[in-house]
């Protein structure tokens, strides 16, 4: 009896593994635009992918409530490096840096309802 159960479990695991492998081959991956050349991110890419929202959330409270500015993590700095050279934004076009991953992961990004998604220099040029 125990042997049959073990065999079943092994078969199920194999089937699941096969399905994952097939999915990975079929699933389209998000197109992530490269950051501005010659820039270095504040953390390695895998850390940023997992934790960028936590970094920004801690930083925003320090900035808004305590007035601490220019710290390591800054949405403004993210936008400065990652704005698309074509749309000058991180969240306007489908392939722009924030939108491409967030639409792939189906996570709505609220930041740009209030924050500007373009670097400050571009905003100033536009308003002149």
């Amino acid at each position: 009896m125990r042997q049959i159960a073990a065999l079943l479990a092994t078969l199920t695991a194999l089937a699941a593994g096969g399905a994952v492998a097939a999915d990975e081959a079929r699933t389209p991956r998000p197109v992530v635009e490269a950051a501005r050349a010659g820039t270095q991110c504040v953390e390695p890419a895998d850390v940023m992918r997992r934790d960028h929202m936590r970094f920004l959330k801690h930083q925003r409270d320090d900035t808004v409530h305590a007035g601490v500015r220019g710290a390591k993590y800054s949405l403004k700095e993210c936008i400065g490096c990652h704005a698309s050279p074509t749309t000058q934004s991180v969240a306007t076009g489908e392939t722009n840096f924030c939108t491409s991953c967030h639409s792939y992961a189906a996570v709505r990004v609220d930041c740009f309802e209030c924050h500007s998604s373009t670097p400050q220099a571009v905003v100033q040029q536009g308003s002149k």
Partner: protein
């Protein structure tokens, strides 16, 4: 009792961790490029952080209504430009400063003055806020944290100065330094983004001085040597609705 064959022997974990620690310590000293090491980049990144709101400071304003010119809206326009506000065309449009004309009925004496958030020491907007979005910074500036504002507008009801506005419609092309958006209450920030950068004046005070009126003085009320402290010491000035004991940081001269 059976042992799990997949689990590694207990003593191998600390050994591997110890190796990683040594490896990381070694890496920190490795040169990335001639003259640049990882440790130096990390130190350089932290040196640009500003110290934040200084609790020894109380920012305030003195508005000399005898110098404020009737019909002049330079302070309002400068505020709109600085903070990315569209000029208000309807009564519900956000407006951080408004110019008002007042008249003493018995004598007929008129005065023109700007009214904005008075940055009270005892702000009623902060007391009524159900989410803690309305708050007073250590340096006396009263702000709205839009991350936690739910747009209930209790603060607008509580403010006796009608200083706060609600953003009813979606916005675009905000300033990087002044994020604003639909569904939040907002008001004068005393140009907090400038102050945090170390600048000593607000957009409205700067524009008023530039226009030659000099009716707005901005400064530290706690510093006895600041221009604003000297002015309020030598000339008579009042707080609007002083009977409410809210201790506003904005004072008016010549009312």
């Amino acid at each position: 009792m059976k042992t799990d064959p997949a689990a590694p022997p207990a003593e191998s974990k600390p050994r591997r961790r110890g190796f990683l620690g040594v490896a990381a310590a070694g890496m920190a000293g490795v040169a990335l490029a001639p003259g640049i090491r990882l440790i130096e980049i990390a130190q350089a990144a932290t040196t640009t952080t500003s110290a934040g709101a200084n609790p020894a400071v109380r920012w305030g304003m003195l508005i000399d209504t005898t110098k404020c010119v009737e019909g002049c809206t330079d302070c309002v326009d400068a505020c709109n430009t600085e903070n990315g506000l569209a000029p208000a065309t309807r009564p519900t449009d956000p407006q951080w400063i408004r110019k008002i004309e007042i008249k003493q009925i018995k004598t007929g004496r008129t005065a023109s003055l700007p009214v904005m958030c008075q940055h009270c020491a005892e702000p009623p907007c902060v007391e009524v806020c159900p989410t803690g979005a309305s708050f007073k910074r250590a340096d006396g500036i009263v702000l709205v944290d839009r991350h936690s504002c739910i747009g209930c507008r209790y603060c607008m009801m509580a403010c006796p100065y009608k200083a706060r506005s609600f953003v009813h419609e979606p916005l675009a092309d905000q300033k990087s330094d002044v994020p604003r958006g639909k569904g939040c209450v907002e008001s004068c920030t005393l140009c907090v983004h400038r102050i945090d950068k170390g600048e000593k004046t607000t957009a409205c005070a700067e524009a008023c001085a530039k226009a030659g009126h000099g009716a707005i003085v901005f400064g530290d009320l706690n510093d006895p040597d600041s221009e604003i402290s000297q002015r309020i010491r030598s000339a008579n000035s009042v707080q609007l609705r002083a009977d409410l004991h809210l201790e506003p940081g904005v004072r008016y001269q010549g009312l």
